[in-house]
């Protein structure tokens, strides 16, 4: 639990009694008529690490530059001995219309202590803007507070599977909840977004004339990821398999090495440790008919896709601007989400992580 001093040091705005929250929000807007309130979604961030409040406030400030929303920050302390809820309100404003207007979004922050059943949904979801979709970012691994009352209200769930120390049981909880909710929410995994531009770059490389022929002679796929991002590498591999129809032969042939089947051919899939600041630093597709190499250098804002075909080489650049959590979420919210496809790919990811069988 944070101390009063630590809390007051955070830029959460005015603390308000929960019973007066709506009234205080109204007063907040009435106090400055030059500000225009904008909201196209409810965006809630839930964390069981109260020390994340400051970082999440900064994140909201960045995300709302592009996505106007009602932001709800929730810091939960489930193991606190007594139930209590504190709330703060503030607004984030951006200049619009050439600096003539100040367009603002509101942020409500909650510190929720204690482990009363359904405390989070009952408290927080009372402050949703009713008709707007709820984007809910669950930070960290799922806990017992990830329960049906909570996810029943979610329209778009944001997670970052990259921050889960043990992702396999988390994927199980996620898919069970999704099925339990009858697919009512979409899953937006920031790890999936981390490889978005690699996917785009790889797909673009094969748009070049004759490039598709490389696949017929492909012998090896090598993906290098930096420490802690092996999941990103596996997601990229699983996506490639989903796109091409390759299947995974059961079991690893060596450490981080798998055998793929493409019709009657075999392809080796290897995961290596890479270096740099990007989650995946390099992707190599090697074969008899040529190859493709994707590289992301530290500090470079582009993915370089080098295609070798019939003794000639060409290079295509694809921008890759998503690295920070705010950039990833902003990018994610621009797009729709095909959740059934995500889970289909996830089954392969789970096997690449060592799970036997076909998953849940």
């Amino acid at each position: 639990m944070m101390t009063a001093q630590e809390l007051s040091a955070l830029d959460l705005g005015n603390e308000v009694p929960l019973r007066e929250l709506d009234k205080q929000l109204r007063l907040l807007w009435e106090s400055n008529e030059a500000r225009t309130k904008a909201s196209l979604a409810n965006f809630a961030i839930y964390s069981e690490r109260p020390d994340q409040l400051a970082a999440n406030t900064e994140l909201i400030r960045e995300v709302t530059r592009e996505h106007a929303c009602r932001a709800l920050l929730v810091a939960a302390v489930p193991d606190a001995p007594e139930v209590s809820v504190r709330a703060w309100i503030t607004a984030h404003c951006q200049l619009a219309a050439g600096g003539k207007k100040s367009v603002c979004t509101e942020q409500i922050s909650f510190m929720i202590a204690g482990n009363s059943p359904s405390l989070v949904p009952n408290t927080v979801f009372s402050y949703l803007d009713s008709d707007l979709p709820l984007i809910f970012w669950w930070q960290g691994p799922f806990t017992e507070r990830w329960e049906p009352h909570l996810y029943a209200s979610i329209d778009r769930l944001v997670i970052d599977s990259g921050e889960w120390p043990d992702p396999l049981p988390q994927f199980t909880l996620l898919e069970e909840a999704w099925k339990n909710a009858k697919g009512d929410f979409t899953v937006n995994d920031l790890m999936w977004t981390r490889v978005l531009h690699l996917r785009l770059a790889l797909a673009s490389a094969f748009d070049q004339p004759g490039a598709i022929g490389i696949l017929a002679g492909l012998q090896e796929v090598v993906i290098s990821s930096v420490e802690g991002n092996s999941l990103a590498a596996r997601m990229l591999a699983a996506w490639m398999m989903d796109q091409t129809g390759w299947t995974l032969e059961s079991g690893q042939t060596a450490q981080d090495t798998f055998k793929l089947r493409a019709g009657n051919r075999e392809i080796a899939l290897r995961f290596l440790k890479g270096a740099g600041t990007h989650a995946v630093s390099e992707v190599r597709l090697n074969g008899t008919g040529g190859g493709v190499v994707l590289t992301q250098e530290s500090g470079d804002g582009f993915i370089h896709a080098k295609l070798t075909l019939g003794g000639t080489s060409s290079e295509v650049l694809t921008p890759c601007a998503c690295e920070t959590p705010a950039e990833l979420v902003t990018e994610r919210l621009r797009r729709g989400c095909n959740t059934p496809r995500y889970f289909r790919i996830l089954r392969t990811v789970r096997r690449l992580l060592g799970e036997e069988g076909q998953g849940v």
Partner: protein
Amino acid sequence: MVIFGASGDLTGRKLIPALYNIAADGELPPTLKVVGFARREKSNESFREELEEMNKKVSRQGHDDRLWASFSQSIFYHRSEFEDAEGYERLAKLLDDLDQQGAGGNRLFYLSTSPDYFPIVLERLKAAGLHRAAEGKWARVVIEKPFGTDLETAQALNRAVYDTFDEKDTYRIDHYLGKETAQNIMVLRFANAIFEPIWNSRYIDHVQISCAENLGMEGGRGGYYDKAGCLRDMVQNHLLQLLSLVAMEPPTDLSADGVRDEKVKVFRSLRHFKDARDVADNVVRAQYTEGTINGKPAVGYRQEDRINPESMTEAYVAVKISIDTWRWEGVPFYLRVGKQLPKKTTEISIHFKRPPHVLFNKGTEDDSANVLVMRIQPDEGISLRIQSKIPGPAARTERVKMDFHYSTSFGKKASPEAYERLLLDAMSGDATLFARGDEVENAWRYIDIIENAWHGESGQPPMCHYPAGSWGPSEADELLRRDGREWRRL
């Protein structure tokens, strides 16, 4: 204007602030005098001081000392027992004296006492000759809810009223009808050509009317509430009145009877439940149990102050109502109302049918239906939920809303309190926003069937439970789920 039961909460919290704000708007008849009639010993001065304190707290437009000083000179206090005939003789004398001072001779009697006293007050008014005004003047009565506790008592009260006043001089108040958004329902429907053609079973899937309160039995309300219950306290009057405004046919004109004739037709078209089994299938009653609300622990209904620990009174009701008319064939109206829910809000939502998934979102169970929401309180306004394309190469859609807020469009001081409008209407003789005797009786006729099933000899539908601070019992969710629907997120 004579307020019976003037020492009660309603006078200080609603009636006097309403009159004060009408005065602040410059619309109060200058000849109006207000007489508070109650049993407690008070002087004019002490009565005015009490009211001033409360007005400072609750007045919509704030409190201006100079305006109050002028306005309060029109307020008087008259001490009497409600049964005391002599007290009414003295009241008549006081009113005559005020007429001599320029009050004008019209009489508006506001019955804000416990309902038990309504008949005796009416009888004593008649005995004192106060029910008849002088030539060219009028005498009217405004009656607060509850108007009866069932059909039989409502009929008896109507007889007592008709024995004293004509229907045209009787104003049964339902403050929900005085709210701007409730009044706006008819404007929305009949002043905009785009809505009426689709206001029927061909385009509307269902209607939800929700009234959530985030309070329990604070302020000693438990004694009254445990006798009345949610169904009588809220559904019989407020919610059924809102339903009638949504479901009624266009009236031939906006006269009081023109509108009320159409509302009565709706009440008469409500499909009555056949038996206790039918009630159990379509009505959910519940009490809240211990929980957390606004971040604080809350006790269960049976542990509340002045509540019977074995009470079988409902603090939550959800009901599926069918209306047997051509317009509403197959369109259920789901009503829900309850105490200790997570937020305070009242709204009507019209859920239109989903478009066929031939172009977008094929093979998915997405929530793409249009929803028109009329927010009654707080933050009065109207919003329409529509689907919009998500920017980008893929043809994916997401819901967005078009929103109208009264406070934004007309200024935050623009919406008068319901009582302001209703008091002005009663003074000017417009009964459109008040319930007529047959409306009330038909509403009770419907409600009695549910009450009788709940409290009958056998086959009583169960009492369900929900934790305080949650959105009601799971059985209420199931009521819609079995129809393939769900409650709107409030």
